[in-house]
């Protein structure tokens, strides 16, 4: 356990699945050779296969404190990088050409089952679930590595892979129950989300957070009682870890999704959420019930003209309030670095 712990809260009620976070991360961190099919940030439709495909059935993590066997996801489970025939279509002289993958039809990719969702009409439903490395308090990847190549920083709890020590054994991929670790075939090493370490160290929010048009992501330290993370996780108890039963104690938390009411056979609204509570319990554990009740209660308070700290935090009128201590503008850091002669 680290002295301090950075954390993220993702409000699933506000995520519109636009993948801006995915692109922000991709262009910042995984645009080099060997990283073509690598997405340290994904947004998948739930219910669905997710990224990598069917990751929730791949094992790893702990049960009653004991390390569990796990399956190593392959590149095909994440989906290969697709090459498109844009050049041919746009400049190839064929007026009837259509843009498509160049090497046959892809068989899987991130957010493959976009908007498919679950349930039957008129009670069909879906929501988006962004995921990054959870920078767990008990990282199964770190426990699994025989090289000691994975470590958790004491000053902020960020989990990193020392690629100089990594030998590409990939036990970490098996052990991570969230399957958030990739293998770079060019470097022969494991790679994953670094919580935008170089940005965070300069007080800048993670790229996925700053670029989010929906103001979905909150940042901060868990123990900062004035910050949004502490308020959402501990004070109001509405932000929950994904799959707490994996026992790694994730430090990415989610505001569970509210949903409109279901319809009965006659087409009348009934007092039952369109998103089945059992499905949400399967994702966030039994605490999701109380979390949703608290959010609904506070929302009603606000609706009736009352005050609600929780709603004010979730609404986040002031954009920078999302980011706790990480409010520095990237352009200002660039100037600072230039001043130090590091530009």
């Amino acid at each position: 356990m680290s002295s301090k712990q950075v954390a993220m809260v993702i409000d699933l009620n506000k995520c519109i699945g636009c993948q801006t976070c995915t692109v922000a991360c991709k262009t910042q961190w995984t645009n080099k050779e060997g990283q073509e099919g690598m997405y340290w940030n994904t947004v998948s439709t739930a219910p669905g296969g997710g990224t990598p495909k069917d990751w929730e059935g791949m094992g790893g993590g702990f049960r009653d404190g004991k390390a569990q066997a796990g399956i190593r996801p392959k590149q095909a489970d994440f989906g290969d990088a697709w090459e498109f025939n844009v050049e041919d279509v746009m400049f190839g002289g064929d007026p009837n050409g259509t843009v498509g993958p160049m090497e046959g039809d892809p068989i899987y990719g991130t957010n493959w089952d976009e908007d498919v969702g679950g349930g039957d009409y008129p009670n069909s439903f879906f929501f988006y679930i962004p995921r990054i490395c959870n920078h767990c308090t008990k990282p199964a990847c770190m426990e699994a590595c025989p090289r000691g190549a994975i470590y958790k920083r004491d000053e902020d709890g960020i989990v990193l892979i020392n690629e100089d020590h990594c030998r590409g054994f990939r036990f970490c991929q098996e052990a991570c129950p969230y399957k958030e670790i990739y293998f770079n075939q060019t470097t022969g090493t494991a790679q994953k989300c670094i919580f935008c370490l170089p940005r965070v160290e300069e007080g800048v929010a993670t790229a996925c957070s700053r670029q989010c048009p929906g103001r979905v992501r909150f940042l901060g330290f868990l123990d900062d009682e004035d910050g949004p993370i502490h308020k959402l996780v501990y004070k109001h108890k509405v932000a929950l870890p994904l799959h707490p039963e994996y026992e790694t104690e994730p430090n990415v938390f989610y505001i569970p999704p509210l949903a409109p009411p279901s319809f009965d056979d006659e087409g009348n609204e009934i007092d039952e959420s369109r998103i089945p509570i059992l499905y949400l319990i399967s994702l966030f554990g039994p605490a999701v019930h109380d979390s949703l009740e608290i959010i609904k209660h506070e929302r009603e308070l606000k609706r009736q003209g009352g005050t609600s700290e929780l709603m004010d935090v979730l609404i986040s009128r002031n954009w920078l309030d999302l980011f706790g201590p990480f409010t520095t503008q990237p352009k200002d850091v660039a100037r600072t670095l230039e001043g130090r002669g590091n530009a």
Partner: protein
């Protein structure tokens, strides 16, 4: 086993060279590296019900010319894996004690390290490795290490070569010397890597002919 002194070491650097057929083979019994010695609980949990290290034997032959050592190792491997794309490569290693009395199965200790040459089927890569215990292996000093392997009809044959002369932490060898040798092989098809391997349970005496 003995490393016989020869005049022309170069003709021994190919594992398929005819000269090796006249050298006596020393059969080493191999065992799966003990599960209890695996360095992490995750590895133990993943492999406790899964067979590994099933190579039952390794045949060793060796010659030297007073300057360069060549060790020929062959073992049974039904399906070849060169570690293409995401696969794990077949691999082999030979080990010598550096000083003290390192325990082979626990890959030595800080007081008694061991030096290894590890060959991988992926690109015939051969590395010099220094180990001071399980999970501690680091690049070792250069000993002009080289390796060449060939697979035929279910048998891998690999020749390791290195200079006898070497820094203190790379098991210096010399003609007339008696030391110890250990062996490990990995079956890439079975996703064997790191401590998941077949090993000689203990050291074998290794005598370099004067």
């Amino acid at each position: 086993m003995q490393s016989r002194r020869v005049a022309d070491i170069d003709s021994y650097l190919d594992p398929a060279a005819a000269v090796w057929s006249s050298e006596a083979a020393n059969r080493i019994d191999m065992i799966p590296a003990p599960l209890g010695l695996q360095p992490t609980d995750h590895i133990i949990a993943t492999w406790e019900n899964r067979p590994y290290g099933e190579a039952e034997w390794a045949d060793l032959k060796s010659v030297h010319d007073g300057e360069t050592l060549a060790v020929h190792i062959s073992w049974s491997c039904a399906k070849i894996s060169i570690g293409a794309s995401e696969g794990f490569p077949d691999a082999a290693a030979i080990a010598f004690p550096v000083r003290g009395e390192p325990i082979l199965l626990s890959m030595g200790s800080s007081d008694a390290p061991m030096h290894m040459l590890q060959w991988k089927a992926k690109g015939n890569e051969t590395r010099s490795v220094l180990a001071e215990g399980i999970g501690s292996s680091l690049p070792g000093p250069s000993v002009s290490e080289n390796g060449k392997g060939g697979w035929s009809q279910g048998i891998w044959s690999v020749v390791f070569s290195r200079s006898l002369n070497a820094p203190e932490n790379a098991s210096p060898l010399s003609a007339g010397m008696t030391t110890l040798i250990g062996v490990a092989v990995w079956n890439g098809t079975n996703e064997e890597r790191a401590g998941i391997k077949a090993v000689s349970g203990d050291w074998t005496d290794f005598i370099l002919e004067a």
